[in-house]
């Protein structure tokens, strides 16, 4: 295999100060999901990149008055750190790897309780993320690291620094890592070997630089999930492709295997829940009536009616690794047609035609912060149980 060259380049806005806190101080939560499961949206929304003033709808709302003490970490000016690892030229038979880091920084407004996030580099400095795009982005992946705090500062014990991590733009790396336990690292300094990568179907037939990129991605992911305190699994409910469905099932089985072997809290988020026709009706009704309450029974939907296509997998885990009632959330980033009503989807899942004069759509986030808050809650509960 030809040697793969590695260069590292960090792009910064001139004069900007970086104060990334040491990871050891933070509790770490890994977000995993197959390609197009909603990881990017999840990170960008939560870090404020989409703006914090979007309406968030909770369907169903928790009846116990559960609070969501999620805050931006104003002590650190970096809210979201994205490091892109990419091959420079797919046509180069020797290939080479390059890394570029971009920072989304906090810009506290006058009222420090509010937060605005912007990209620190100017547009011209951002460059083109993928210089030589391949159809499935096999020539790059992005490490995403979001910093935030959980817990009110006036609460007992105060708030805790948290980190949310994933490998973005390459859900295939995540799927492969969790699907094939022969790849799993046993220490945060370990390295996925080229030999063990052969457990991935057809790995031998890949270009050498892609093999190396994938191996690095697996290693990166393996290291941070090895050090993770909890895992959020994003599942997409409406995958048209049978291959994607199989990939998601394999990933889910792998994640269950993983969290059991490491005794980690797991929270599941069924993303793009607006694709579930029945749930979508609940969103629509909830918004129309401004009730933000729902009688939608998630557990019944998932366990007894195979609502996420996980069938026996979820039934087998119920009460062991997760509680469907408390640890599984249907989330969505549906877009309203302009009057607070989400867009309607036709029978085929396609967008229904707009009626009347065109209006700007307003993003409506559904339950988006719930999985993260629940993961934090479980991390702290586990820590409390351990007496640390």
């Amino acid at each position: 295999m030809p040697e793969v060259k590695v260069t590292t380049r960090t792009r910064r806005a001139p004069g900007s100060r970086r104060e990334t806190k040491a990871s050891e101080d933070s509790e770490r939560i890994a977000v995993v999901g197959i390609p197009a499961s909603g990881k990017t949206t999840y990170f960008r929304f939560l870090s404020g990149h989409f703006g914090l003033n979007l309406p968030i709808t909770y369907v169903p709302a928790r009846e116990d008055g559960w609070s969501l003490p999620l805050y931006g970490d104003l002590e650190s000016d970096v809210a979201l750190e994205e490091t892109t690892y990419e091959t420079t030229d797919p046509t180069d038979p020797e290939g080479s790897l390059e890394t570029t880091t971009r920072y989304y920084v906090n810009r506290p407004l006058e009222d420090r309780r509010k937060l605005w996030v912007e990209l620190s580099a100017g547009r011209e400095d951002q460059g083109i993320l993928t210089k030589y795009p391949l159809p499935t982005k096999f020539n790059q992946f992005v490490e995403m690291r979001m910093r935030f705090r959980y817990g009110a500062s006036d609460a007992p014990g105060g708030s805790r620094a948290m980190e949310l991590l994933t490998v973005d733009e390459a859900g295939g790396i995540i799927s492969d890592y969790f699907t094939y336990d022969r790849l799993w690292l046993t220490s945060a300094e370990g390295e996925v070997s080229e030999k063990s990568c052969r457990v991935i179907p057809h790995f031998d037939s890949w270009r050498p630089d892609r093999q190396e990129l994938w191996r690095r991605g697996l290693t990166l992911l393996g290291r941070f999930v090895e050090g993770a305190d909890a895992v959020i699994l994003l599942l997409s409910p409406a995958l048209a492709s049978l291959r994607d469905q199989a990939q998601q099932v394999n990933l889910a089985r792998g994640v269950f295997r993983y969290i059991k072997s490491r005794n980690l809290p797991l929270v599941m988020a069924i993303s793009k829940a607006d694709k579930l026709k029945e749930f979508y009706a609940e969103i629509e009704r909830s918004i129309r009536e401004r009730s933000y309450r729902s009688h939608f029974d998630t557990a019944d939907f998932l366990l007894r009616r195979d609502g996420s296509g996980m069938g026996t997998i979820l039934v087998a885990q119920e009460g062991r690794a997760i509680s469907t009632r408390e640890d599984v959330f249907l989330i969505s980033s549906a877009v309203s047609t302009g009057e607070g009503h989400p867009m309607f989807l036709g029978e085929s899942g396609e967008q229904a035609p707009e009626v009347g004069s065109p209006t700007l759509g307003v993003p409506v986030m559904v339950n988006t912060t719930l999985p993260l808050a629940r993961a934090c809650e479980r991390v702290l509960a586990k820590r409390g149980t351990k007496g640390t």
């Binding site: 094939y180 336990d181 022969r182 030999k195 063990s196 052969r198 457990v199 991935i200 179907p201 057809h202 790995f203 031998d204 492709s241 049978l242 291959r243 469905q245 199989a246 990939q247 099932v249 394999n250 089985r253 295997r257 296509g309 996980m310 069938g311 026996t312 997998i313 039934v315 087998a316 119920e318 009460g319 062991r320």
Partner: protein, 511 residues
């Protein structure tokens, strides 16, 4: 390469032990086929019960068998034909199973004429197997009726410098240069006791004796044998001891050539047959997994049958009658759409066909005649007969029966599963036995998951979680074995990869 020894087949010569096995140059095979005019002569049938067959027909039957063995083992194979001219119609190379019908067609079209240049043919066969400084490495099988009367380049005897005419080189030193390891097997058609009836046994034994002496001189572990086939009846018996099937004209490309999404769709369809055994009972009749070793107490009474599938993409192949006798005629009639004639031929040949073949073809013809109830009855009989077969041919035959049953019942899930299993078995024929067994074992594990999955469907609400947990544990176990197989068999080839891909998708579907 095996032509079975029967009482009429006499063997002279001894094999030299100590030829090491292994996938190296010594595993290459060259077949030398005599196409001299004398091969048109009939081979006597002493008992008079069956029609006399030409030597060339008998030779072709032997050649088909040798070819099939080469394709099955995946060892390189080449064909040299000779009259007074030596030709190489099939250069040395691996015989892909899909190419076999074309080569067999070619052989069926070869017409004998002229004289025999046996020694020149052996010299050319050695050239095909020559590996530079390493000498001549491989195996030669010579099929001839045997009197050399046309060689111009080589002689089997020590060259006589004083002899008149053009000088010919010594065949023995030419085919056995230093470092060589060459096995020569002579299959003589007809008795060599009188001229023009069979091989010139004296001359042939002289050559083989000199070859043995030469091998000893150069320290080569080579083997030289001579067999005579004096009647066609044994080869004929082997010919009809077959289960021959034809496709349905709707075959898909092999698993490893499918588009990934098409592969996923096929695997998902096949998985349905595993998820609901009650609705797809045919699956439970199949044997999937490692083949059981023969046991002395086994109730098996029928002999092994050769199982083949005739490709139908280019009409009826020319070799069918030569190779399969009356069964070939039935298949020809069937492929021509003459179902009544096929039924008549079937009735006439019933006594010589293996019972399972007879019942299956009854079912097949009846199915083609849209007589589904009678076809189902005949197929039921075929299932019963298949049970009596030895393990290897039983598994193959059962897959063909299951395919017809799926067609009869219009069950696409079973059809997809059986097609995959059958295709995989055939395409794995050229791989190492250890790989074959590994994949068979994995497929067996996959089939076993039917049981735990079914429990999740049958369990009451209280037991559902336990059943689901057991099923998930079973799936995880098989998935672990699949990963180990991926690691150990990485780089083995697309057939293995395709099989593992299919199993992996089926596992994901078993949820």
């Amino acid at each position: 390469m095996a032509v079975r020894s029967e009482p009429e087949v006499t063997t002279t010569g001894e094999e030299t032990p100590g030829v090491p096995a292994g996938p190296d140059l010594r595993d290459r095979n060259v077949l030398l086929l005599d196409l001299s005019k004398s091969m048109l002569a009939p081979l006597p049938e002493p008992d008079g019960t069956s029609r006399e067959r030409q030597k060339i027909e008998v030779a072709r039957t032997a050649v088909y068998r040798i070819l099939q063995d080469a394709a099955k083992s995946g060892t390189p194979f080449g064909l040299v034909t000779f009259t007074e001219t030596v030709r190489i119609p099939v250069p040395l190379g691996t015989i892909h199973r899909d190419h076999l019908p074309f080569i067999e067609n070619l052989i069926s079209l070869l017409t004998p004429s002229g004289r025999s240049a046996i020694w020149d043919a052996i010299g050319t066969g050695a050239d095909v197997l020559r590996a530079g400084e390493r000498g001549v490495l491989g195996n030669i099988v010579l099929v001839t009726d045997g009197w050399d009367n046309a060689s111009t380049r080589y002689t089997a005897r020590s060259p006589d410098p004083s002899a008149p005419g053009p000088r010919r080189a010594d065949l023995v030193s030419y085919v056995l240069p230093p470092n060589s390891q060459l096995n020569v097997r002579v299959l003589g058609i007809g008795s060599g006791s009188e001229r023009d009836k069979g091989v010139d046994a004296g001359e042939m034994n002289l050559l083989l004796g000199r070859l043995r002496q030469r091998a000893a001189e150069i320290g080569s572990a080579s083997a030289f044998t001579f067999q005579e086939v004096t009647t066609g009846s044994q080869l004929f018996a082997q010919m009809v001891q077959a289960f021959l099937d034809v496709g349905y004209g709707d075959e898909q490309p092999p698993t490893d050539e499918l588009h990934p999404e098409e592969l996923a769709r096929t695997a998902a369809t096949a998985a349905k047959a595993l998820k609901d055994p009650g609705a797809h009972e045919t699956v439970s009749r199949l044997h999937v997994g490692p083949l059981p070793s023969a046991s002395p107490a086994s109730p098996v009474v029928a002999p092994e049958v050769e199982v083949g599938v005739v490709p139908t993409n280019a009409g009826s192949p020319a070799y069918l009658k030569d190779r399969y006798g009356p069964l070939g005629e039935i298949v020809e009639a069937y492929l021509a759409g003459s179902y009544d004639e096929a039924a008549n031929l079937l009735a006439r040949s019933a006594s010589v066909l293996p019972p399972v073949t007879r019942s299956y073809w009854e079912a097949r013809v009846l199915f083609a005649q849209h007589n589904a109830p009678e076809a189902a009855r005949a197929l039921l009989q075929a299932w019963a007969e298949a049970e009596k077969l030895p393990a290897e041919s039983r598994a193959q035959v059962q897959r063909r029966l299951a395919l017809l049953q799926a067609k009869l019942q219009n069950d696409p899930s079973v059809e997809a599963l059986v097609r995959f299993l059958d295709d995989t078995e055939h395409r794995l024929e050229g791989t190492k036995p250890v790989i074959r067994e590994r994949l068979r074992s994995l497929l067996g594990d996959l089939m076993e998951l039917r049981g735990t999955y079914q429990l999740t469907r049958l369990a009451g609400s209280g037991d559902l979680q336990d059943a689901a947990l057991k099923h998930e544990a079973a799936v995880e176990q098989v998935f672990g074995r699949l990963q180990d197989a991926r690691l150990e068999l990485a780089g083995t080839g697309p057939v293995v990869d395709g099989t593992l891909d299919f199993i992996e998708i089926c596992l994901a579907e078993m949820r």
